[in-house]
């Protein structure tokens, strides 16, 4: 047996100009989450409980795109999704379209443990959450000022982005910017047309 191991992530695709202070904040959060997981492993918590515990911490901190601090929809609201999987018996649980559950990963865990299914979404998932008595909050709780600003930039660029790359508006007249084709991740949506 090789002993325990743990890894965490806060997303791929990072603004090359991310201020040093924001980089330090991100590293501190990652370190805090690693240490949370390490002490749980040293207390012999099973892997499935440790991944849920750590992702809850990441959802609660607004720094990364999940839980509080989630990216915003075209309407300026938050719709979250999460999944969890336990290796030994390949049990799994997933949720999508979550708008009021404070920690979506714990709802995914309940789908795995307390429902006959492996994936619940939107109103069905919210009804299941109420029945399971998980902590519910108003959708506003998840919305941050930073992300309102990011959404505004994305809309001005007529773009859908998974990371920092909000294309700089062409210097051409407004008209050019307005009828530029819809973009995703800074690329014309046609790149994803097969999707």
């Amino acid at each position: 047996m090789g002993g325990w191991a743990i890894a965490v992530h806060g997303g791929a695709g990072v603004d090359p100009n991310l201020p040093t202070q924001r980089q330090e904040e991100a590293k501190q959060l990652l370190t805090r989450c690693l240490n949370l997981g390490i002490s749980a492993l040293r207390s012999s918590l099973p892997a499935i409980d440790v991944v849920e515990l750590v992702v809850r911490e990441l959802e609660t901190d607004p720094l990364f795109n999940s839980g509080r601090g989630s990216a915003l929809t075209e309407n300026g609201t938050v719709e979250m999704e999460a999944s969890i999987m336990d290796g030994p018996k390949k049990r799994c649980g997933a949720v999508s379209g979550i708008t009021t559950v404070k920690n979506p990963i714990s709802l995914a865990r309940l789908v795995m443990d307390k429902s006959p299914h492996s994936y619940l979404a939107f109103s069905g998932a919210e009804a299941f959450a109420k029945k399971q008595g998980v902590e519910l909050v108003d959708n506003e709780y998840f919305v941050t000022e930073d992300n309102k600003g990011m959404l505004k930039l994305a809309k001005e660029a007529n773009s859908i982005v998974f990371d920092y790359r909000i294309p700089i508006l062409e210097t051409c007249s407004g008209a050019g910017a307005i009828d530029s084709p819809l973009q995703m991740n800074g690329l014309p949506i046609s790149v994803y047309a097969p999707e």
């Binding site: 090789g2 002993g3 890894a7 990441l58 601090g69 719709e79 979250m80 379209g97 998974f162 790149v191």
Partner: protein, 131 residues
């Protein structure tokens, strides 16, 4: 997107991923994170959590791919991660973290950076953003 993968002292692997998705996304859009086999996967061999361009990760069934090349090609964890990130993403940009039942930990990404932290029982610990 955030994620965590763990192998405990009894060699049991697990994976978890959670996200708000894409900024300015359409209502009702579902990405890779909730899709078992794409954004999240765990079996007796390994645990994997992915992040990045969801549509590319879905098409590649990226998380399951790591377990598959370990299972069928006999690659070790880091080689499996490197192979999958290099060969399976087409034009997409993504990253992933993974652990193996042998207590190994690995990460790989083809984007310009990835927020990640890794630690093992023998004292190794790394927190990074850039390549």
């Amino acid at each position: 997107t955030v994620g965590c993968v763990v192998v405990d002292s009894e060699g049991r692997c697990a994976a978890a991923t959670s996200t708000g998705g894409l900024m300015n996304k359409m209502m009702g859009r579902i990405g890779d994170s909730p899709l078992i086999g794409a954004g999240t996967y765990a079996c007796d061999l390994c645990g994997v959590s992915c992040t990045g361009e969801g549509e590319a990760i879905i098409r590649a069934t990226l998380a399951r791919e790591v377990a598959a090349v370990m299972e069928y090609k006999g690659l070790n964890l880091q080689d499996a991660v490197d192979f999958v990130v290099k060969e399976k993403l087409d034009e997409g940009q993504a990253g992933l973290i993974a652990v193996s039942k042998n207590g190994e930990v690995a990460c790989g990404f083809n984007s310009n950076g990835m927020f990640r932290g890794m630690a093992t029982e023998d004292g190794y610990m790394e927190v990074g953003i850039w390549d």
